[in-house]
Symmetry: none
Amino acid sequence: MGETGGPRARGRPRSERARAAVLDAATGLLVSGGVQAVTMEAIAARARVSKSTVYKWWPTRGHVMLDSLAHAAGHALAAPARDGSLAGDLAAEVGALVRAFRDTAAGPLVADIVAAAQADPDVRAALDERWVRPRRAACARLLDDAVARGALRPDTDVPAAVDQLFAPVYHRLLFGHAALADGLAPTLVRQLLDGLGAGRCRPDGDR
Amino acid sequence: MGETGGPRARGRPRSERARAAVLDAATGLLVSGGVQAVTMEAIAARARVSKSTVYKWWPTRGHVMLDSLAHAAGHALAAPARDGSLAGDLAAEVGALVRAFRDTAAGPLVADIVAAAQADPDVRAALDERWVRPRRAACARLLDDAVARGALRPDTDVPAAVDQLFAPVYHRLLFGHAALADGLAPTLVRQLLDGLGAGRCRPDGDR
Amino acid sequence: MGETGGPRARGRPRSERARAAVLDAATGLLVSGGVQAVTMEAIAARARVSKSTVYKWWPTRGHVMLDSLAHAAGHALAAPARDGSLAGDLAAEVGALVRAFRDTAAGPLVADIVAAAQADPDVRAALDERWVRPRRAACARLLDDAVARGALRPDTDVPAAVDQLFAPVYHRLLFGHAALADGLAPTLVRQLLDGLGAGRCRPDGDR
Amino acid sequence: MGETGGPRARGRPRSERARAAVLDAATGLLVSGGVQAVTMEAIAARARVSKSTVYKWWPTRGHVMLDSLAHAAGHALAAPARDGSLAGDLAAEVGALVRAFRDTAAGPLVADIVAAAQADPDVRAALDERWVRPRRAACARLLDDAVARGALRPDTDVPAAVDQLFAPVYHRLLFGHAALADGLAPTLVRQLLDGLGAGRCRPDGDR
DNA sequence: GGTTAAACGAGACGGTACGTCTAGTCTTCGG
DNA sequence: CCGAAGACTAGACGTACCGTCTCGTTTAACC
């Protein structure tokens, strides 16, 4: 709060233009030239900003990408609509992620940030906190509620269940062994909720 | 086979010592100093091998890591024992991966290779072909057989199911949001086979 | 002129310390270790300067040596004293070159630059323009004046005559077949002005 | 002589084809691609010879060039014709060098060898002994004889005089500041024998 | 005709320097 | 104080040759 409450800061104020230009430049470079093209030098050059300015506000390439992710896909990933059914709500959550990865710059951005996170625990923590955790939390709440009201088995391992819904999406993004199809999200939800076993009792019911 | 069948190759034979030293050096550097420490120069220096030799046989740092993975964890990850039950066999497969990631150098190696794969499609393809696909195939065969004999629902999406078993393991390796616990593998298998739904019919049975 | 007249240049100014350190390092390496020792890496290391800085200002090892030559021997080779006699003035010019080659670092420097010039026309041109031509020009002017006032034969080929005074000095530097003795300069001048012929008319006179 | 006098050597005899191919390759590379192109690897490749064979017979690139010089220009530089006059014989000697440098591969070869000689005393010695000294000796003998018979001043410094005839040719080859013209040789001889002084007694005579 | 000896071809190897690149830092000027 | 410009240190990149080596292959001279 202090930053807005006090008297206007001394000196030249930070340039919002520079901030946006850097984030746009990073996203643009990534989309057009791949990961290799996104260097701090290239970002500064494309944003028409000096390197010092970039380093002043972002300690690492990874941090630029993190902010670019919020900048580029932040609004595109508001809370998806809920229709009330557990399966529908879960599929909406997972499906939003699938579409973001497939249709927006969020896919390459997240892939690149995950790569950077393997070398920088700071990036890893920020990625988890600012991107992964919010989505997992929404999903976990749905599952927790369902357990609480008896709709799901009481011994459900909710974190593992969340992984079984989201991890396949990240896995396909990072390994590319299979496409991020539209049907993926409902399939994941159905198979997890109903199980794969043949002798099931709920024919179609709850979904 | 062909490589040994013909007459002995002309010229000085390739040094097996150099090959092993490079792969050991790469693994050692990764484990001790993290990803940052694994540069081509450091590998060559630690292996007491010239840079030219490294570049002669491995075009990229990523390729060195790929071979190091095979070199380091190859024997440690033979086919896990099968006990005949579907759940047990699946849990054995997944559990072997969990233990490899947690207890051997395979964890950091795979994490690093995944990162490299985001910038190099060649590494991505090799990782998929030489590491991911064999394990997925074993798991997929188990599921396919189960579907064929009626033990699993006929509309099972096997690739998605395999993802729901393996992807969580990779996800925790790469994001570190949760531990790779011993109980993870059976939990994943149980939740996928039986489903999370509360009104289940198979009380304990098939697992 | 323009470079100092305008407003002070933007950005960090070029480090004069780095420039001098590089030129000193090059000369020092050459004198102590011979040509082999003067690599760009060794120069940078000895000057405590990064390789990038060296390459930023000098495209080639040869260019470093050229500047080192000016740096090391520049002041040592101001215009030698003139006593008014043609023979004396010419001997002073040639003798200054002999002494510079024999007593200062200019000898190894020029020898090395000549070697580099055989592979790089750019170095060859710079060597000619910045080192050879000024000295030749001074000598040629003396000869031209003497021809004009009738002291030398009107059909004198001045460029060839200049070569006959200077080239022996370079020749001995580069081939080492004979020493750069103190008496060399007056001998060259005497033999050229008076000729070798026995039936001479001017017994001793004009020299 | 011992090498041919004894019984034929055991083992496979040295391949004359390889020797010639190497020397031709070196000359060809030098002429076509300049000094940069003449590497030991390129020589071996162009000569269709293994590197080991090259190194077996020539310790250094410079030594290959020395032999190439003899191989390429050896026959072209036999003793030039003598017409009996001192000036004519000297001009023939110097002129042969001028033409060899200008019209054959000897020019680039000598320039390159001189460059190599600056870094390798062994090459310098061989160049002097096998190329420079024979030509200087022939010239020096002419001058010595002339001094002995009283045709030249008794205080003539013959080595310096030889330099004043030959060094300008090398100088122009190495520095390129003036062309190696046809008239250069007679001019050098005339200016040295007659001197540049205007008050000469021998109007045209002896030349 | 088999043995021996040396030259040769092929090519992997440990080195060294190359020239380029990127990351970050530092120094100055101008707004 | 912020931002631009740009010189700086540090060090990895991938390439090119170097000169050495370890083989297998060829070509003679000898026995």
